[in-house]
């Protein structure tokens, strides 16, 4: 019997053990990170969903100024708390655009009236198409887009009050 056959199992075992040790040592990250970070925003043109609020297209986020594109929905509970933080960011001069995922006009109007409205524009992504093309897997998520329309940063989950300095510095870098 050849030496290769006899010693191969030990090699396979070592490989597997190494992978399992790595897995035990590295905390599991269940977030799905977008591969679009560093690339231009994919072209999209979303219709308006609430009256008096302009629609959102990919051209609207590449205006020479950094934009915060917030993916949210009126049916999303963490989004309610996030709106307050977004209002604070708006107060610091941040351009915030919203992509409302699978939402209804009446529900969304109610949501904005109740919780506040930090958005300059809101596009209605009724089938999650744009959300998926951005590489987002849930709500809320936010993308920082620089003045040339390139995605610079992805925030998975709600932006908390403690994240504000970090978000502001990322926006500064994207300037």
């Amino acid at each position: 019997m050849s030496r290769a056959f006899r010693f191969a199992p030990i090699g396979v075992l070592l490989l597997i053990i190494a992978a399992l040790v790595w897995r035990l040592a590295t905390p599991k990250d269940n977030n799905v990170h977008s591969t679009m970070v560093g690339k231009p925003v994919p072209a999209f043109d979303l219709p308006s969903i609430v009256p008096n609020k302009p629609a959102l297209s990919s051209a609207d986020v590449a205006t020479g100024q950094p934009h915060l594109v917030n993916i949210f929905a009126s049916w999303c509970v963490p989004c309610i708390t996030e709106v307050k933080v977004l209002k604070a960011l708006q107060g610091r001069g941040v351009h915030i655009d919203g992509i409302a995922v699978r939402d209804r006009p009446a529900d969304l109007a109610d949501f904005l009236a109740r919780n506040g409205d930090p958005y300059e524009r809101i596009g209605s992504d009724s089938q999650s198409d744009v959300q998926i093309s951005l590489g987002s897997s849930g709500v809320p998520e936010s993308f920082i887009v620089d003045g040339k329309g390139v995605i610079r940063f992805q925030q998975i989950g709600a932006i908390e009050a403690s994240d504000v300095p970090m978000i502001l510095s990322k926006l500064e870098q994207a300037r």
Partner: protein, 645 residues
Amino acid sequence: MIAETGLGALWLAAGLAALQFLLMIIALRSGADVRRPMRSIAVVQGVLTLIAFAMLLLVFARSDMSVALVFENSNSMKPFIYKVAGAWGNHEGSMLMWVTILAVAGAFVALLAHRTSERTTVAALGAQAVLALGFYAFLLIASNPFARLWPAPMDGQGLNPLLQDPGLAFHPPTLYLGYVGLSVAFSFAVGALFTGEVDSRLARAMRPWVLGAWILLTLGITAGSYWAYYELGWGGYWFWDPVENASLMPWLAATALLHSINVLAARGALKAWTMMLAVVAFSMSMVGTFLVRSGILTSVHAFAIDPQRGTFLLALLAIYVGAAFILFAVRAPFLKEGAPFELVSRESGLVINNLILSVILGVVFVGTLYPLLVEAVTGEKLSVGAPYFDAVAGPLALLLAVLVGIGPLIAWRRERRPVFKPLAIPALLGATALAISIILDPGMRILPRLGFTIAAYLAAAAILPLVGRNPLRAPLATWGMVIAHFGIAVALAGMAANAAFSSERLAIARPGDILNVGPWEVQLADVTPTAGKNWTAIEAELRASRGDGIIMLAPQSRFYSDPPTETSESAIRTCWNGQLYTVIGKQDVSGAWQLRLWWKPFVTLIWAGGALIAIGGALALLGRLWRLVWRRRPTPEEWRRERYA
């Protein structure tokens, strides 16, 4: 005191395992005959673990909330059977069960092993003691099932409702018995590699254990598959979930071992290969236990993620498997291969069987661990699912099913007669099935179509070993083989029918609405609230008909209070030609209900086939044991020669 008694018994058992290991070292160095003390120690160890396990059952039965494990996994409102079954529906309890089975298996080895030489028996018992020692350490250091809480809480947190099902009472113990039964094959292999006495006596001593473990694994997998099918409400019988694969891999290795061990027993050939398989089979059991208990793979079975326990189990796995592989690498060159065989012979057939099973095992192994390896190397996340497994393992399994029909017809050593002649009728049946499938459903996909063809062929071919002889005089083992191989054909037909003919209907319905699925008309008659001992539910009243009277089905959507969880209880009607499977889901805002209906023709054949395979195994085991105990007891002369060899 009950919990403390259990803990004390566990410590004592651990001490005895250490002593057993020490005795093995002394015996192998000095040549002293330690079989008798070792046997006694192994038996007492088995009894002590049984006591510990009985104590655990007792604290669960009495709902003693001062025991942390009971508090975390039980509740005084629970039905009694689930209180008891809850003892192994959690990490610590199931590991105690694991160790108990391991120690009891060791005790039976000690009592029954007089076929192998003294040195091999002693080495095998020592190996079994080392295995047990590691898992005692794991329990006592990292997973004490008897830890107390002070002050004792008023009531417990309850058991995951998915586990509150009769399936729980049987599925894990059956699988564990199978997993751990393979530990005996592992210990025998390690012992024999150590002493160099790999021969047909060893194979005959190992065979009943392999067979027994394999039967239980077959049953465990079949039952688990049916449980998932009706309890999870997805309508599927196999999901290629990592933990399902973890139970399939030892089964594949055990199936290969089961066949190669016959070559070793009958012809003294395939020595190194069989020892390797014995080591791999139990290694796969440990990998399975590790994957489930460490929770490192994302799976419906991943119960808890605990790095300390994971590390401990991984260390045990690395030590045991690593040591066995090294022992194999060092000792295998010294094994003399047995009787030679020609290209066309039963031996060659079994080698091909082993090769295909090993490749399928490799396919499943790679698919299960590939996402982990890729993420470790590139950081990229991906998942491997049914499309890969079906496409790669499916054709291999079909090829194997074709060969299953041929192998048993070939003679040992060399075959001079034409082998294919008796296969004319089976081949004709297969061709007929193929023709019918083309006429009835020209658009059928290739795998189900081949499935029908091969199932029809194999159903006939499997019986051939009984043809041309008096079936009543055929050995039980032959009957077992025939039934098991026939079971493969039955299960294959069920899978093909499920893949080709299932119809599904997902709909939003209001009371009064009528939906069609397959040949059935199903009316949602009413939706009413109902309640059980520890749950409340919404229950649909379905009236189903296909022209011959109305049958009633009542799927439920249940809400359990402790812990608060929703489950869906499917309602299934089994007919002779299939199952009508119904699930009720959520109510939408307009007040209508989500209904999921499936008509699955002949789906029950899948589990019937699994049961037949296990029954075949059981018959073979009976036959082997019968001969072992009654016909082939060693004569005093043989006994003496062996003892003083």
